[in-house]
């Protein structure tokens, strides 16, 4: 069973508001991923970290999202100004290595932008 902890489970924000969610990866996992899963079950990779450093991110993440994984604190993903299209399940995952290993997902934060 995955031990990736995501909070909150549910988040409701108005358009234009900031939305922040947190993730505690599995103990000892230095690599953290954020994915967005929409209502059609489509996954979109957003960003990943190894320790505190960004490995890879998509354009959308650079522009409207901010994410960090500080040492000794939960990782976080924040949407600066929420849009209706941001309503989705945000999944955090962690792994031991950045390449070709098992990835463990949390239960997700379901964001609804009204």
């Amino acid at each position: 069973n995955s031990k990736v902890i995501q909070t909150p489970r549910y988040l409701v924000k108005g358009q234009g508001q900031k939305a922040k969610m947190r993730c505690i990866p599995e103990k000892g996992h230095p690599v953290v991923f954020w994915y967005q899963q929409n209502k059609n079950n489509e996954f979109k990779f957003l960003i990943n970290f190894q320790n505190q450093e960004v490995l890879q991110q998509i354009d959308m993440t650079e522009k409207r999202f901010s994410a960090e994984c500080p040492s000794n604190s939960p990782c976080s993903l924040e949407i600066q100004s929420s849009e209706a299209g941001d309503s989705a399940l945000y999944l955090c995952a962690s792994s031991l290595s950045p390449a070709n290993t098992e990835v463990f997902f949390g239960k997700g934060t379901r964001l609804t932008v009204v």
């Binding site: 991923f33 489509e42 990943n48």
Partner: protein, 112 residues
């Protein structure tokens, strides 16, 4: 367009029957992974099959990989009601950083 895609949106079987979910993908890969996501939970990895492997088993699950046709299958034998979930295949598209590209999933319902 997606780099991986399951071939069925939904499947329904009765408990005890076997079922196979198929997946096709579009790029060269280092590995292909099968995940299961139950309602209200995140995806859980079932099998990781590397590009130099043809078959991998995990209990009642069996995954195959055919790199020449860029396809994979996941078979479940002796299905149980608790196997009801959405099943996803995901490829790494030779990503340097283990980024996964998921299909849209096949919803499997196992009825009593």
């Amino acid at each position: 367009s997606q780099l991986a895609e399951e071939n069925s949106w939904a499947l329904s079987v009765h408990e005890g029957e076997s079922v196979t979910v198929n997946c096709s993908y579009k790029t060269s890969i280092t590995a292909l992974q099968w995940y299961r996501q139950k309602s209200g939970k995140g995806p859980a990895q079932l099998i990781l099959i590397r590009s130099n492997e043809r078959e991998k088993r995990n209990g009642r699950l069996r995954a195959t990989l055919d790199t020449s046709s860029q396809s994979s299958s996941l078979s479940i034998t002796a299905t149980r009601c608790e196997d009801t979930a959405v099943y996803f295949c995901a490829t790494d598209a030779r990503s340097n950083y283990n980024v996964l590209y998921f299909g849209s999933g096949t919803k499997l319902t196992v009825e009593p």
